[in-house]
Symmetry: C2
Subunit: 304 residues, 2 copies
């Protein structure tokens, strides 16, 4: 059974202090799918693009075990576009342009063969669309969801409705503080727990990630990198690695969740090493495992 | 043989969203000494206070195995004073007042019995004073040093002279970036390595700490805390726990340095749980060890 991924596919124009790319492959569903594809196929991708979406990107996705029956291609439509510029320290970025285009009319219709998927990853899109997807699912399924400031501020009601149906919420620290209206992350977790998700993962960029469950807190190591070329997609790659590993192992124990967080971190680290999705293309699985072990070694201490 | 600590002793007025204290015990040497005192005594403290320094603080230090032969008490002088206010998220603080007072004329004279100390911790004071202390030492000694933006910007030359004689530099991430003129922390480490220190520890507050050596990088876990009452002294408590553990174990291997970083983090976590130095007073050593294990558990993952 495939892993269902829904989210955006886009053409990104990105400038960093090192380089600039135009109309490169982007979008939350793209990064999630590529990152997840290294663990277990197939990926059932749901999203929408315009007629201008390059054929080479279709092939790229297909070559990474991504099933495209759920991808809507709108005749005469224009693909979602995003443009951003990163500053010298790469932690700050300006969004220069967001053109929704075909995304404005997106009405996700889950293909029959996707409906019984046991694992669903909801990339960062309007919570109303995320709910629409869940409404069409049949049978039990495990839901990993992402969101962002924009929806927390502008779509709170729909988001709260969604959160009741999300098992794992993956957001960054500022989003967690905003959602919970609470600066302290442990207290924020307790508030978010009451909104629905039984597990919260807080991504902290270069500072690692925190996993909160009812029984435990896990602090995944920060992985200091010498060269970060393009931070775009890091959070989505994290989510893709996380759910990809869960989907592969079919093990939802806390111990396995911890490993999944580290695999998520590993995929994010590959992502930022190159521009656009290049860092997630054509990896060998043994490199993913090596990176996983490097992460573990980074935080290993003998108690003595 | 005692552990030599030099730095400031002060009277702090601190306001956080939770409370306010006036003329509480503070200063880098104070926090370092109290934190280190749990590992192995005695602590040889060097610093200066005025006649107004309360007797109860003298007793408090003495009760924590702190030897005060190196403490100068200036007749008619006024103790160093600092006042700060923390904002809602506790990561931002405003310094409201800094009065050097007796510190302005401080001329550290190392008592004979301190001169052969094998471990020296230089708290954050003028690098010229830190050098003066090292100049008086006899025999080999291992030096842990702290500094801050103020000296990096205003006393660069003296600081560079000092760094040649420091084994472990402990600073926070913004200080590391400023000192190395480099936003990327791995590259910053390489620059700082060339300035002298063979080991660099970068404190990242709530995000944990990084240890850099020629062979390895170690990422110490962040320890999410539900109640942080007063962040003052956290960095100094870290340094005190770090060198206190090294002094106790007399083991400078990389593996032991990692443990020392975790003990440093543990002492910092005790420090911020209460106002001023209260969190570091009268702890039982088993509580320090329990906290150390909690830190280790926080980042433990089975590779499977």
């Amino acid at each position: 059974m495939g892993l269902l991924v829904v989210g955006s596919l886009g053409l990104d124009t990105v400038e960093t202090p090192f380089d600039k790319v135009e109309n490169a492959l982007g979008g939350s569903a793209t990064y999630i799918s590529l990152a997840a594809s290294y663990f277990s196929g197939p990926i059932y991708l749901m999203g929408v693009v315009g007629e201008d979406f390059p054929q080479k990107y279709i092939h790229l996705l297909e070559n990474h075990s991504v099933d495209l029956e759920g991808l809507q291609i709108v005749n005469g439509g224009k693909t979602f576009r995003w443009s951003g510029k990163y500053h010298y320290d790469l932690n700050v970025r300006d969004t220069l342009l967001t053109e929704l285009n075909v995304f404005e009319q997106f009405n996700p219709e889950v293909p029959d063969k996707y409906k019984k998927s046991k694992f669903v990853c909801l990339g960062n899109i309007d919570p109303a669309l995320q709910i629409k997807v869940l409404d069409q699912m049949e049978g039990p399924h495990f839901v990993v969801g992402d969101t962002m400031n924009y929806w927390i501020e502008g779509r709170k009601e729909k988001l709260m409705e969604l959160l009741k149906r999300v098992n794992v919420l993956i957001i960054n620290d500022s989003e967690a503080r905003l959602l919970a209206k609470e600066p302290n992350l442990i207290k924020a977790w307790k508030h978010i727990r009451e909104m629905g998700p039984e597990i919260l993962i807080i991504k902290k960029g270069e500072h690692g990630a925190l996993l909160f469950t009812d029984e435990t807190i896990f602090s995944a190591p920060a992985y200091p990198m010498e060269m970060i070329y393009d931070p775009t997609g890091a959070g989505d790659s994290f989510a893709g690695g996380f759910i990809g590993y869960l989907h592969k192992t079919q093990d939802l124990s806390t111990e396995n969740m911890k490993r999944a967080v580290v695999y998520g971190s590993a995929m994010a680290s590959f992502c930022v090493e190159k521009f656009s999705t290049k860092g997630l293309e054509g990896l060998e699985y043994f490199r993913v495992q090596d990176r996983f072990r490097e992460f573990l070694n980074l935080s290993r201490v003998d108690e003595k």
